[in-house]
Each structure stands twice: as structure tokens, then as C-alpha cells.
């Protein structure tokens, strides 16, 4: 089986930072860390080493990628291996980007780098083997990288990240477990009591640092947003009660309260009887107007944003959030009161 290995100018032995502008080039067989990797690849042979200067890749990404993919097309490897890039950001980014592009073309691809290297995010559907932050971790990284690369070249179906030693890619795959959910839950609980906390449902969601507090609410434009499915009576835009495909903005036209005669909730995830008696229980327009009059908040944005937040996939909800956030920023909104159920 055939592997192609990608390294930067330094690991290819072309030179240091002074050669960082080197355009993509192809070298026969294994070079630099590829020699050590060869010993870990079993019956997979490194037929070629592709190298590119880190600055060249960063500054001419499209050209560099096209040239490197051209080499890959000619070599038609069973697996692409990139790195290890350790903590080097530009090198890691090149490894991740190339691995992702190869994986998109159906070439199994694995990169290796430190988990906090920005290249991890660039790797898309490719695998990333975690390494130490600097080259001292080479000896530890190569056997793990070699093992995963051999498995990919052989077309073996891979197990989960923990089992195979790669970073979670944010994917979940169904499988048949031998034990029931109850048995597995008890096992996790006993583990936790013994001081070992594990989970079957790993993170995968990114985090946002909280923005600084509002300096002075009495000078701030405040917007009302809800995931509770509040809409004008009769639901004129047909907001679905579950699995919403979009969100809506409704102008308030100076209204003082969300009157039951004019608004309702179409949320399908809870009993809306109480909410429909008084929609302010979901979107507190009456109170917000009061606080606006008293000067506690500068001004209330004269529209509210709404969607139904049940059964919405994370990617879809994220898109809603991004779109609404864009409008709010454009309108000069400085703080948001969001309600969910």
C-alpha cells in the first residue's frame, strides 16, 4: 500500500524560516520524520514526500493546495499523512487544510499536531492524531500516527477517538452496544463513585467567552429574542411548532404589551395554555416597556425575534443565532433578553 507524506520546508531539510517561501515540491520516498514513520507503517510504503514552505502555504493557499493536490492525483496514495506539526500554527494549518482537501477527494488522510493547534479546526473530515506541543514529542507521536495511517490505508473501519487515538471530529455514529443503556449508565455511575468521571457523549460544542458587561443599560438599546415560538395570532408566517427552519422578526410598532388577542405561542414542546393567556409570560414586553419608561433601560428595540427551539439541530440553531446576531449588531443593539423554555 502507498502513502504520501506532507512536511514543511524545515522537516523536508530544505531550510528554516529563510526557506519558508518555498513553493510546493515533490521528493521521492520518505524524508526527515518520514524515515522514522516508515518503521511504524508496516507494509505501507511512503512513495513520496510533498513539502511546502509554511509562509508560501499561508500566503498562496489556493495555489499551494492546487499544486499539492496535483501531486496527490499523480501518486494516487492509499493514505495521506501530514506532519507532525506539533504546536506550529502555520505548519499545522497547512497539514490540516491539505488533509481536509484530500479527505474531501476520498483519499483517507491523517494529520498530527498539538490539540490546540489551529490546524485541528482546518482538518475537516480528516483525522488528527494529538501530539506534544514541540518536536520533543516526535518519538511518542510517530508510532500512534503510523498505526492510524496503516489502518486508514488498509481501509479498516475505525473505532471511536479514544480507542484509535485521534481527536474527536464532532461526529456521532450509531453502533450496536452489547450492554443496555441501563447497564452502561450504572457502570458510569459506579465509575464516578470510584472517582473516575467518563461520558459516552463527549463535548464537541465550542465555547464563547462572555462579552464584557453592559456599561450603562440606561444608555443601551435592548432587544427581546425568544425560542418559545411567540408569533402574531394565526401564525401568519407558518412558524413550525417543532424543527423550525427559520426565524422571524416582528415589528412591535410601539406596542406596550404582548396582548393575548394579538399574539400566541405555537411551540410544540410544552403546554402553551398559560403562555397564550398572557404571552408576556414568554416575552416580557410589558415589563420591558415599564423599565424603558423608568429609564432603567435606554430604549427597547422595536421588534422582537422569534423561533421555536425544539428539535432544531445544532447547526441549524447556530445559523439562526448567527443571522439574528448580525441583524442585532447592525441595529446597534447593545444587550439581549432571550427567553427559552
Amino acid at each position: 500500500m502507498r502513502a504520501v507524506h506532507y512536511v514543511n520546508q524545515f522537516f523536508a531539510g530544505l531550510g528554516g524560516e529563510d526557506k519558508a517561501e518555498t513553493p510546493p515540491t515533490r521528493l521521492e520516498g520518505p524524508v526527515g520524520p518520514g524515515r522514522g514513520l516508515t518503521a511504524e507503517l508496516g507494509d505501507v510504503e511512503i512513495v513520496a514526500t510533498l513539502a511546502c514552505g509554511d509562509d508560501y502555504f499561508a500566503e498562496h493557499e489556493e495555489d499551494a493546495l492546487a499544486a499539492l493536490l496535483g501531486y496527490l492525483d499523480d501518486d494516487h496514495p492509499d493514505v495521506l499523512v501530514a506532519g507532525p506539526a506539533f504546536g506550529s500554527g502555520r505548519y499545522g494549518y497547512a497539514c490540516g487544510t491539505l488533509a481536509a482537501a484530500a479527505a474531501e477527494r476520498g483519499i483517507p488522510a491523517v494529520a498530527a499536531m498539538h490539540p490546540e493547534n489551529p490546524g485541528v479546526d482546518a482538518a475537516g473530515k480528516a483525522y488528527v492524531v494529538p501530539t506534544a506541543v514541540n518536536v520533543a514529542g516526535m518519538r511518542d507521536a510517530l508510532p500512534r500516527l503510523g498505526r492510524l495511517a496503516s489502518a486508514l490505508a488498509a481501509g479498516r473501519e475505525l473505532g471511536g477517538p479514544d480507542e484509535e487515538g485521534y481527536l474527536p471530529r464532532g461526529l456521532r455514529r450509531n453502533y450496536f452496544a452489547e450492554q443496555t443503556g441501563a447497564e452502561r449508565a450504572i457502570e458510569l455511575l459506579l465509575g464516578k463513585l470510584a472517582g473516575e468521571t467518563r461520558t459516552e457523549v463527549g463535548g464537541g460544542l465550542d465555547r464563547v467567552e462572555p462579552p464584557a458587561p453592559v456599561p450603562d443599560l440606561s444608555e443601551t438599546l435592548v432587544a427581546l429574542v425568544t425560542e418559545a415560538g411567540c408569533v402574531p395570532q394565526g401564525n401568519p408566517d407558518r412558524l413550525p411548532s417543532v424543527r423550525a427552519q427559520g426565524w422571524f422578526r416582528y415589528d412591535l410598532n410601539g406596542e406596550e404589551t404582548l396582548a393575548a388577542a394579538r399574539y400566541e405561542s405555537v411551540h410544540g414542546g410544552f403546554d402553551v395554555t398559560l403562555a397564550n393567556e398572557d404571552p408576556n409570560r414568554l416575552v416580557p414586553l410589558d415589563t420591558a416597556r415599564e423599565l424603558e419608561r423608568e429609564g432603567r433601560i435606554g430604549r427597547l428595540h422595536d421588534a422582537f425575534y422569534t423561533t421555536t427551539g425544539n428539535g432544531t439541530p445544532v447547526v441549524t440553531a447556530t445559523r439562526f443565532g448567527r443571522e439574528i446576531a448580525g441583524e442585532l449588531r447592525e441595529a446597534g443593539v447593545g444587550a439581549v433578553l432571550l427567553s427559552g423554555t
Partner: protein, 73 residues
């Protein structure tokens, strides 16, 4: 998810919900626990006022990620 994306563009957002655990999991940072799923902003105007004021206070407060505030009884 809405809270997180709105905060991503730098607008402080307070999320009033009766399920703060879920809100914490998805990465909301300023969370006020509402009294019930069916009426996060309370049943009457007096209760609502307490909840909204609490939420506004949280908007003006420097917070650690995933901060949850209760409504004083």
C-alpha cells in the same frame, strides 16, 4: 445556541430559562433560572418584574462562563 451566537458578536445576552442545565451545556454564559417551562417570565407582573430586573442585573455583571443566577424567593 442563540445566546452563544449573539454573544459571539460581542452583545451581552441573558438567557432566561427553566432548564439552566441545558443552557450550560450548549454554552450560554449569562443564565437566569425562570420559574417554569410554561412561563419563564412568571405568571403575574410582579413576579415578572423581579425576573427581568434580575436578568438586567446579570447583563451588567462581569461573569465567568456558564453563570447561573436564581431568582430570590
Amino acid at each position: 445556541m442563540l445566546a452563544k451566537e449573539i454573544e459571539r458578536v460581542g452583545i451581552p445576552t441573558v438567557y432566561v430559562t427553566s432548564l439552566p442545565t441545558v443552557a450550560t451545556m450548549i454554552g450560554a454564559n449569562r443564565i437566569v433560572r425562570g420559574p417554569a417551562i410554561t412561563h419563564p417570565f412568571g405568571l403575574d407582573t410582579e413576579e415578572r418584574r423581579r425576573i427581568v430586573e434580575r436578568a438586567l442585573d446579570l447583563l451588567e455583571t462581569e461573569v465567568e462562563p456558564n453563570t447561573v443566577w436564581e431568582i430570590a424567593p
